[in-house]
Symmetry: C2
């Protein structure tokens, strides 16, 4: 496994592989890898000849009061895990090489507002701008044939699919299902921020989503009432919910047709830690 | 010479060339090709193995009161000229394939404000957003090694260079000098909008730029005074000037240092026709 920090070396190496007729799989990460990430890497491996993983905590997608500084950075153990999975190349750039003039002065990519203005976009200003911009930059450096993202960040996955479509990237996007702990908690680097007590409460987020799904399937309540009920349940468990939303699973628009494919999305805080999760119906 | 309208066919063909070890040169145009464009094509030919030219009048870079509808479309004669220059591939997409949901709903690319907010950006709202977005889309479809732009659109050339740097495209940008008529008028598709009388006045734009350059080199006047003098001269010739600006030739910032490399940029209207030109000092 090679580890490179230079954009140009990555571009040159990947393009050499492509000249040799090999297909490139790409998994962009912020490091601190868990089983969820490793599943993405395995999916890339199954679909391509070479797997590239990027490890980069992207400042542009964090708000000024968010956890950019404290975000867990565990490069050595990440590299060991990726070596074990026979990843071909890890790209680990510096902030200076990614944003030489600072991320605030960089050109940026904005994905159409219908997908980005609500939910995470409403609670994390310019978050999706930061995500779309860094993914664009990484796509340009790596030029993958396939890129793999986790369904845990469901809205992000849809935003990336829209980005690829709108900006004409000849890249296939694969979404991989969320990996959960035995008690239902979705794997996330941010889980390690939780105190023992908060960790005991955290799986209730998935429980509430699951119960909401059951109620939707029983068709015995209005969707807005179900959202309100879920928010109250979360509050009773000790969460401070940002939102629970039952949306069209393709467009994230308000669900107005009983035959829509639906997804339930939620974000809720436990102390300083913000957890998100989702469940398709 | 092949002519393709499908994004996917272009991507597939170019990537096959790249797998064969060939370097790709790209010239994006809005068609209605004149000697200025042909010079760009020749530059691409000199630097690469395969030349791709796109012909696409991009609605996203035109304002609501601009000349999108009337912009001259001359596909047959354009194709003949490109055949004569032994271009390998012409990409001529439809609006439906470039913006399936309309350009207003598309994801877009915004280049940092220092370069884009003044001059053309101040007079043509969202113009550079449209340019940056379509160039990004075309770069993603064609994935060139080299792309060639004209210096006549000087601010646009700098915006593209910044875009490539900020979004990490491994693409070399070449700027080619402006081609002029014998009387100094810069070649432009919009020149054909001019009446005979306006056409007689039009070369004065270049004359005023040239005279301003002489005065700068003589160092006998304040730059702001020179800008004002040039605007008055243009008005006396019958133009309605949008701006004459003497700027740092690299950053387009106000020139504050006598050792700066300078460029004089101007935009002025003759009736409904808006002409732009520039001259480096």
């Amino acid at each position: 496994m090679q580890t490179l920090t230079s954009n140009w070396e990555v571009s040159a190496l990947v393009r050499q592989w492509q000249r040799d007729g090999e297909r490139i799989g790409f998994v962009p990460t912020m490091g601190n890898l868990h089983e969820g990430h490793l599943r993405l890497v395995k999916a890339a491996r199954q679909n391509t000849d070479r797997v590239v993983v990027s490890i980069y905590v992207n400042p542009m997608q964090f708000g000024p009061r968010e956890d950019f500084t404290n975000y867990p950075r565990t490069l050595e153990s990440d590299l060991q895990k990726l070596t074990n999975l026979k990843v071909d190349l890890v790209f680990h750039p510096s902030d200076e090489s990614m944003y030489p003039e600072g991320s605030a002065k960089s050109s940026y990519v904005e994905v159409s507002t219908q997908l980005t203005e609500g939910l995470e976009g409403a609670h994390r200003q310019h978050h999706f701008r930061g995500v779309a911009t860094v993914v664009t930059k990484l796509f340009n450096i790596v030029s993958p044939d396939v890129a793999v993202f986790g369904e845990k960040d469901y809205q992000q996955l849809l935003v990336i699919q829209q980005l690829v479509k709108d900006l004409n990237y000849p890249i296939e996007i694969i979404g991989e299902p969320t990996i959960r702990e035995g008690d239902g908690l979705a794997l996330s680097s941010r889980n390690q921020y939780l105190s023992k007590q908060q960790r005991a409460i955290a799986p209730k987020l998935y429980d509430v989503l699951s119960e909401t799904r059951e109620r939707i399937l029983m068709q015995n309540m209005d969707l807005t009432d179900l959202e309100q009920a879920a928010i109250m349940q979360l509050e009773q468990h000790g969460f401070a919910p940002d939102y629970v939303a039952i949306r069209n699973a393709v467009t994230l628009a308000e669900a107005d047709n009983p035959t829509d494919l639906l997804v339930i999305l939620a974000a809720a805080r436990l102390g300083q830690t913000r957890l998100i999760d989702n469940l398709r119906v």
